[in-house]
């Protein structure tokens, strides 16, 4: 087959297009950075997850250690069951506690892990038993008003 300039242009064009897609995937997107590492799954039950979403970050001491893999409603315990996919590079003690926190005042919600002191490590399929639910602003205000009313009632 003879070669023509069109072949060159076509090849260069297609390569440039795929290079752009690769840049978007690796530099702007999350491909590569996270997929490379294997994860293990841990369950945590919360009374209230607030606005937590699938793929929200899981942080310990502010460092990204995993992602929220799945959120379900446990119809037997009437609690939210959150599956956390944690990076195998990081091991956590069995009595680690999980809490739902907010980054910044109005930022996204994430799961924070606080390591405990147990010798045994969490393994795939384990459950984090100590959890703290998300802070729901309406309930907080409700509590504040309620305690305020009680105080006023006690004075009289």
């Amino acid at each position: 087959m003879e070669r023509t300039t069109i072949d060159l242009w076509f090849g260069a064009f297609v390569m440039a297009g795929f290079a752009a897609l690769l840049v978007l995937a690796l530099k702007a997107g999350n491909l590569g950075a996270e997929r490379a590492n294997a994860t293990y799954r841990v369950e945590a039950r919360f009374d209230n997850i607030g606005g937590l979403k699938v793929r929200a970050p899981v942080r310990s001491s502010g460092v990204l250690v995993g992602r929220v893999a799945d959120i379900r409603f446990d119809n037997e315990r009437f609690q939210a069951s959150v599956i956390l996919a944690l990076d195998t590079r990081y091991g956590f003690p069995k009595d680690t506690s999980a809490s739902i926190l907010t980054s910044g005042l109005l930022g996204e919600q994430y799961v924070g892990l606080d390591a405990g002191g147990d010798d045994k490590k969490l393994a795939d399929g384990d459950r984090v038993t100590i959890t703290q639910s998300a802070v729901v602003l309406e309930r907080l205000i409700g509590q504040l008003l309620f305690s305020k009313a009680q105080e006023d009632g006690a004075k009289k």
Partner: protein, 265 residues
């Protein structure tokens, strides 16, 4: 009085039926093109030549406008985000709006006006000068030889052009955000990487641009093929290509976005 009202009504009805007819004919045309695509695969050189004309020659306008759009997004985003002290999120704003919406849509609009109009004018003129009839006389199917390669070239080029547009836009946002305004480069990239999901954001953008590529080239080739064989007819067909491509792109974008955001987290 009555006659004027009835005349208006007749015209509206005529236009409506005409447009429905065109939509149906365009769909049939689409399947005829698909059926005639065998030659495009066997003689891929034909498609490559059209990719050169529709894709490669659109590169300059795509790259330059992508850069400008990204820079404007960076400036505008910084202005607003600064009020909330969230200027570090500028990378997220630029990347998400480009990858999800602006990349596919603006690239498709540019593609329609740069390449779509050229396709319509070329095919319309080939029809007006009876080249298509001549091909038919020589037992060469104009569908397989002229229309299908142009269609496939557009389908191939469009996602690549949209990806380049988005990449250049992110680069433009980087120039404004990091180099000009002084956002921390680490925060710029890391927040962007945390927010942009490959499958959910990047691949959905690619799917969008793919659909737009099909829509624009079908409209462009159909308008050219359907144009009245006069100078006036070709010019009208070219205008119609740009107008109806733009409308179709925006309407399709709404539908696709509604589907893609469903169940999105």
């Amino acid at each position: 009085m009555l006659s004027r009202a009835s005349r208006t009504l007749t015209r509206v009805g005529h236009n409506f039926i005409e447009n429905v007819w065109r939509a149906g004919a365009m769909l049939r045309f689409f399947f005829v093109v698909l059926a005639a695509s065998g030659t495009s695969v066997r003689r891929f050189r034909l498609v490559m030549r059209e990719v050169y004309f529709t894709g490669v020659l659109s590169l300059i306008i795509i790259i330059v406008s992508g850069l400008f759009v990204g820079m404007v997004l960076g400036l505008q985003g910084f202005e607003t985000l600064q009020k909330y002290g969230a200027q570090d999120s500028i990378g997220v704003l630029v990347a998400l709006s480009l990858v999800r919406e602006l990349g596919p849509v603006v690239a498709a609009l540019l593609f329609a006006s740069r390449a779509g109009s050229a396709i319509t004018a070329e095919i319309g003129l080939m029809k007006a000068t009876e080249q298509l009839t001549a091909m038919d006389m020589m037992a060469v199917s104009p569908m397989a030889r002229v229309i299908a390669p142009r269609f496939w070239a557009g389908v191939i080029s469009m996602p690549l052009l949209a990806a380049m547009f988005s990449a250049m836009g992110v680069f433009g946002g980087y120039i404004v955000g990091v180099v000009l305004v002084g956002v921390d480069p680490g925060a710029f990239w890391s927040q962007m990487q945390a927010a942009v999901d490959f499958q959910y954001d990047v691949m959905n953008g690619v799917v969008k641009s793919f659909v737009f590529g099909i829509a624009v080239t079908v409209i462009a080739t159909f308008e050219g093929f359907d144009a009245p064989p006069t100078a006036e007819g070709v010019s009208g067909a070219t205008t119609r290509t740009v107008v109806s491509s733009a409308l179709t792109i925006l309407a399709l974008d709404l539908v696709l976005t509604a589907f893609m955001l469903r169940g999105g987290t």
